[in-house]
């Protein structure tokens, strides 16, 4: 049992508790004789808070039973875990950047760059894969979704919009 699970349980209690507090404003809303807007979310949140408290108690018990030294890892395992965390963090940053810049630079360029960078983040180093795959995949995606299904993807602004208009 890890400390992080205890922290997670506490975060759940805080989240559901806060939302439950917000629900009090909704209780009683509605016309006379009608069940208001707050009853259902109140029930869902009250039970969620209760379950989070039970999860916290269960996690604390397991943590105490296992002892604080029970989760000691080898140096190799710690390094592997750190590598995994960095990869996931970079994947998230890469994805977030992709969806933020898409309306500015357009779907084509953003997708092309995203495939390239995401492959690099996941450890792809073969040059031919990095050179061919982004172009090929972007072309297929544009062909299917922009041309065939005609989804109006963001074109970007300024010069990027001009570039996008060449394709869709």
């Amino acid at each position: 049992m890890k400390k992080s699970e205890i922290i997670f349980s506490a975060v759940c209690i805080a989240f559901f508790g806060f939302m439950l507090f917000e629900t009090f404003e909704l209780l009683g809303q509605g016309r006379p004789g009608e069940v208001g807007s707050g009853l259902w979310p109140f029930m869902a949140l009250a039970i969620s808070t209760l379950l989070s408290i039970l999860m916290l108690i269960s996690n604390i018990r397991k943590y105490k039973a296992a002892g604080p030294g029970a989760q000691e890892l080898t140096a190799e395992a710690i390094a592997a875990k750190r590598r995994a965390r960095i990869t996931v963090a970079l994947s998230v940053v890469c994805f977030l950047t992709y969806i933020i810049v898409t309306p500015w630079i357009g779907f084509i360029i953003a997708t092309l760059l995203y495939i390239l960078v995401f492959a690099l983040v996941l450890g792809e180093r073969r040059r031919w894969v990095l050179a061919i795959s982004p172009i090929l995949m972007t072309a297929v995606i544009m062909g299917v979704f922009a041309k065939f299904i005609t989804i109006p993807f963001p074109k970007g602004i300024g010069v990027f919009a001009e570039f996008s208009r060449l394709f869709y």
Binding site: S4, E5, F8, F16, M19, E22, L26, Q29, G30, R31, G33, E34, V35, G36, S37, L39, W40, P41, A44, L45, I47, S48, L51, S52, L54, M55, A84, R85, T87, V88, S91, V92, F95, L96, Y98, I99, T102, P103, T111, Y114, I115, F118, A119, L120, V121, L122, G123, E124, R126, V129, S133, M137, I141, V144, F145, I149, I151, P152, F153, P154
Partner: protein, 497 residues
């Protein structure tokens, strides 16, 4: 009724629909065969393709992906010992053991023929049972509908994996998410925090894509270069065709397994995995011929598991089409497809859109037959695709997720919401909180709340209306049983799945 079937055959056999059937089945086979992509994820990713398709073509595509996914999960299970789907775990035990003995092609034939047989059996049951159940369900009022959604939500017990507590937490979180946005009855804003992005509520396709697909890729990103080890040599399907007498000699298993699969598939939350395990367990328990072979390449075990997991598809679709509640994770995604095309699965669907219901019957029948040929052709291709760089493959899935969210309303706000859900999904998975109950609750939450409020409105606030009819009592008792039973008795082999 014959007219409906003739019309359905004519529609399904249109060139664009046949193409959708082939492409959906191929995609499903691929999604099922590749570890890291589940059948439900395959169906979710296909949703974005269906926006501009006609409803019938869309459902043919999705049905293909569903049946293909359940069938494809066993390809890598037999050849590499890696289950593409949890329902293929018994196939790993027996099928891969056979493959390691140099009988890979024989195992693939047995798996394929049993899968198709199980699938066809359940489709026939579905065709007979759906109209009967639907006509009965037309008697339902708000209280019965509330009981029905509670029964649907009791699926949580089957989807919770190791911890019921975490499963229920996920479920109630989903119910909360379903309340976000403008209240459909009072017009009151709930939990929008004065933002416009949440005003219309959370679209469950957006949530599904984030919680299920993107979070899965993030989990896989922790270990991006997994390789298949211990793969057996595959020499093509032209040899070792099993004789008919083999299936005849296991007649009891061939009769019992699809029945188990169809019934278990129809139980809310049970799905293909439990069907495969129960049928496999039953075959192991009652085996008279070579019981010592179980675990070391028992043909009977492989037959039992494969007949049952494919038979579960018809069972799940029966209760989806007749009652509007999902029997499995993937059929929960199908509800989203119905809603995207402006339909509500349930008893009224048969009278309002018989073309769709009969079209689904016919497409399931034809897809099962198509899969027999398609799987043989596709095995070699998928073995090559398994060698495709995972980095590129996962980038493609991420982009499909973006398109899936964006294509709903052509609005980047949905993409940002999807990103938020992907982080929530990743966190949930890291702390072993199953995401499936959350998605299910998000899908059924609105219907549950509205039914409850309408019922209470009719009864002037008296909650006794909820247990005022025998149907409600039976449905609520079923839900209670489905929640309580696993607390006391869960087969050891199912734990953690």
């Amino acid at each position: 009724m014959l007219d409906h079937y003739l019309q359905a055959f004519a529609t399904v056999l249109l060139p664009q629909n046949l193409l959708a059937m082939v492409l959906g089945s191929l995609w499903g086979l691929l999604a099922g065969a590749l570890p890291g992509i589940s059948t439900s994820m395959g169906v979710v990713l296909l949703l974005s393709f269906t926006y501009s398709l006609s409803p019938m073509t869309a459902f043919i595509l999705l049905v293909g992906a569903y049946l293909g996914g359940i069938t494809g999960g066993s390809i890598t299970a037999i050849l590499f010992g890696i289950p593409g789907e949890p329902s293929s775990v018994p196939t790993v035990i027996e099928g891969h053991a056979l493959a390691k003995q140099g009988r890979a092609t024989f195992a693939l034939w047995v798996y394929l023929l049993c899968s198709i047989y199980g699938g066809l059996f359940s489709v026939v049951v579905m065709i007979v049972a759906t109209p009967l159940i639907a006509s009965f369900a037309l008697k339902f009022g708000p209280a019965e509908y509330f009981a029905l959604t509670v029964l649907g939500l009791s699926v949580v017990s089957g989807l919770s994996g190791g911890s019921m507590l975490k499963g229920f937490l996920s479920c109630f979180f989903g119910l909360f998410l379903a309340t976000i946005g403008t209240d459909g009855i009072t017009g009151e804003e709930r939990y929008t925090f004065d933002t416009t992005i949440l005003l219309g509520g959370i679209n469950f396709v957006v949530a599904m894509v984030g919680l299920l697909a993107v979070s899965e890729i993030l989990i896989e990103a922790e270990e991006p270069f997994k390789e298949y080890k211990g793969g057996v040599e595959y020499r093509g399907m032209l040899r070792e065709f099993p004789p008919f007498s083999l299936f005849k000699s296991y007649l009891l298993t061939m009769i019992r397994s699809p029945i188990i699969g169809t019934i278990v598939g129809a139980l809310p939350g049970a799905g293909a995995t439990i069907a495969a395990f129960l049928s496999y367990g039953e075959a192991a328990r009652t085996a008279k011929r070579e019981p010592e072979k179980f675990g070391k390449g028992a043909v009977e075990g492989l037959m039992a598991a494969e007949c049952a997991n494919n038979a579960s598809t018809g069972g799940s679709m029966t209760i989806l089409l007749s009652l509007g509640i999902p029997g499995s994770n993937t059929t929960a995604m199908m509800i989203a497809a119905f809603m995207i095309h402006g339909m509500q699965p349930g008893p009224l669907l048969l009278s309002t859109r018989p073309d769709i219901v009969y079209g689904i019957f016919v497409s399931m029948l034809l897809t099962n037959l198509l899969l027999l040929g398609l799987t043989i052709l596709a095995i070699r291709m998928f073995l090559e695709l398994n060698r495709m760089p995972y980095s590129i493959f996962s980038a493609a899935i991420m982009i499909l997720c973006v398109i899936g969210a964006y294509g709903l309303t052509n609005n980047m706000d949905d993409v940002y919401l999807m990103f938020g859900f992907s982080l929530i999904g990743y966190t949930m998975r890291k702390f072993d909180i199953p995401v499936a109950p959350c998605i299910l609750a998000l899908v059924l939450g609105d219907m549950a709340e509205l039914s409850l409020r309408r019922a209470l409105l009719i009864s002037d606030g008296s909650p006794l209306i909820l247990v005022g009819s025998p149907i409600s009592i039976v449905l609520l008792s079923g839900a209670l049983l489905s929640i309580v039973y696993p607390l006391f008795k869960k087969p050891k082999m199912l734990q953690g799945l």
